[in-house]
Symmetry: C2
Subunit: 387 residues, 2 copies
């Protein structure tokens, strides 16, 4: 008799989270040993409510469309499970006869995953639990990088380049770009690629270093005075010298985190008020994780691969692990997958190395050695005739 599997999404989606789902479904179908393929409708909420989507007979053509479908095709949630919820989760898994459970998420979700696995072991259930990594923030430990990061980084790099060229071709204002990233600056760091792609003036600020706004404004004035436009890229979560966010929305999310936002507008207002320059703030926001045309192909492939790998591992009897990525960058980029214990990644947060931040707002080549293969090496060469 075949196995029944359940896959769920946790937390915010990435541009390629559905590629991992595609990998799960196609690997399950290819295995010949899976009976039922379920997905939780809206993540943990769906599991708690016993509200599953039966994907078993969804046409292969529809599954193929996951390749370019943004957001979570099965739905996700930000509900942080409490101790009281776990028995309900196990009850739901038993009710549907689930043998393998895949949770596709970030460090909060890996904690959930770990607790489900531990409780199942305690209760003597034959449940196999494998975490599938996903976060645009790239802040998971152990794995070289996270599926979703390469695409978000490519979005940051290309949109920063496009805005820098706009600001430079019509140099009437400073442009401040806000990118997602509450505590980890990995995505925002990629915006520094704009300087390489365009030769324009670009300043990049990450949440890992406190920002001296007076110093920032002084440099804005100096660099804008070159007369060829200026892009200031900031992570939504950057903090001042007092350690407090420069701006926030006043909203607290389901995990108890304060939602940052309005940081670029705040800086743009300072530029207008304190420097007397024109300035505008752009905040593509969720587009940084939802935009499909900017997806990195290597990221898409790896997101698919971790989903497939997780299914193969569970069917081989493994449990209590997260699928992780090992990468080689020399002489050329290649990656392979391995299993790492969930306990080692649950709730841990990998910060951007502060030694890769140069002079407060430039990004070291070391970051690009690391990230460029993940973002794709097919960046456009622009015609910059006005230089």
């Amino acid at each position: 008799m075949g196995k029944n599997i359940l896959v769920a999404h946790g937390g915010g989606p990435t541009a390629v989270i559905n590629c991992s789902l595609q990998g799960v479904v196609e690997a399950a179908r290819a295995s010949g040993s899976v009976d039922k393929i379920y997905a939780a409708r809206f993540g943990a909420e769906g599991i708690l409510a016993g509200d599953l989507i039966d994907l078993t007979d969804v046409p292969a053509e529809t599954i193929t469309r996951l390749h370019h479908t943004p957001a979570s095709a099965i739905g996700s949630c930000r509900r942080k499970l409490t101790d009281a919820d776990y028995p309900t989760v196990l009850g739901a898994l038993e009710k549907f006869g689930i043998d393998c459970f895949f949770y596709n998420g970030g460090n909060d979700s890996m904690d959930t995953c770990n607790k489900v696995n531990e409780l199942a072991k305690t209760e003597g259930l034959d449940l196999r639990v494998i975490g599938i990594p996903k976060t645009m923030d790239n802040d998971l430990e152990v794995t070289d990088h996270c599926p979703g990061f390469g695409s978000a980084a490519r979005y940051a790099a290309m949109s920063a380049a496009e805005l820098a060229l706009d600001a430079s071709g019509l140099p009437i204002h400073v442009v401040v770009l806000e990118l997602m990233g509450r505590n980890a600056g990995w995505v925002t760091a990629a915006s520094a690629m704009a300087a390489r792609l365009t030769g324009c003036e670009v300043m990049t600020y990450l949440p890992e270093l406190p920002v001296d706004t007076d110093k920032m404004l002084g440099e804005v004035e100096r660099r804008y005075a070159k007369g060829r436009g200026l892009l200031v890229a900031v992570s939504e979560g950057i903090r001042g010298l007092d350690g407090k966010p420069l701006a926030d929305t006043g909203i607290v999310d389901g995990f108890g985190h304060t939602v940052p936002g309005g940081t670029a507008q705040h800086i743009s207002d300072l530029i207008i008020q304190k420097l007397g320059l024109k300035s505008r703030a752009e905040k593509p926001g969720l587009l940084g994780r939802a935009s499909i045309p900017y997806v990195s192909e290597i990221d898409r492939e790896e997101a698919y691969a971790v989903g497939k790998f997780a299914v193969e591992a569970a069917l081989a009897g493994e449990s209590g692990y997260m699928a992780a990525i090992k990468a080689e960058r020399s002489p050329s980029y290649s990656s392979s997958l391995f299993l790492t214990p969930l306990a080692g990644v649950a709730n841990a947060e990998k910060k951007f190395p502060t030694e890769w931040i140069v002079d407060g707002n430039a990004i070291s080549d070391k970051f690009f050695d690391y990230a460029l293969p993940l973002m794709g090496d097919d960046f456009p060469q622009y015609a910059l005739l006005r230089k």
Copy 2:
């Protein structure tokens, strides 16, 4: 002896303005009758300062890159020429021995173009002046549509769909999307395509109709309560029942127009404060005109074609016209080009037909009959497994 030509950009760029430049350069080279190809560095500013870029010997490969180069590759400006400036402009054209002048811009620029042509005639100069249309706002008269619009509309449609799916897959907040458009709602109207692409709840507000914010909030509450997420797309320039912009930046641009902005954040704040719902505002801003991955191929082709057509017209002896587009939509889309007198398009503004706005925030099929061929008919089919 061959002709010398000068091309200049006026006002804000579009995602395909450089394709028109490519069309100008390649048509001039193909004609065999052009000696020198100049571009004004930073538009009218460059002409007034006698600061031209000599493109004559720029390698063909570099010119080809204009195809995917965002913003203005030669630079643009927002300087509105005064009567006192025109003799300086003509002096510069004479100094460089310019026979044909191409101004690539919107209605302000066509006014400039018209005045240069009139003054040249008055002074008995053999100068040929042709306007090349460009505006993402699509607000030029006579021409069926403007190069730049199709790409901006595609950006609005696809990014609205991506955000709607994000808001619907993780329904923890209302998402408010601000799109460019001070007075004309053509681009924002395209965001209504998101409802067709995703089946999600989408509300669209254009500057052509005053917005009753109480009514808007009532509908936000009703539609969000369906529990599957809600996207509210607004043009930056929407106005309240009192006729005043809902929000503005307090900045006045070089043409004397107040720069709108912050509209989505304003509405998002109202949703939080008055409805007690979570909400976030996204404002890709200039990305709506700078993003290359969202470019519409038909728009790119037409932008190239108007540049080429303008050169051919001028070399054939025409002057005082703008290149305009005639479109057939049945049985399938095709377009052709013609010349229309500059005086008829200068400073005129084509508004979105209010009869295409349904129930205040939906967009009629008539708009999509008009705009869909311009945006490209290759929209993705998504896998929406949670429905």
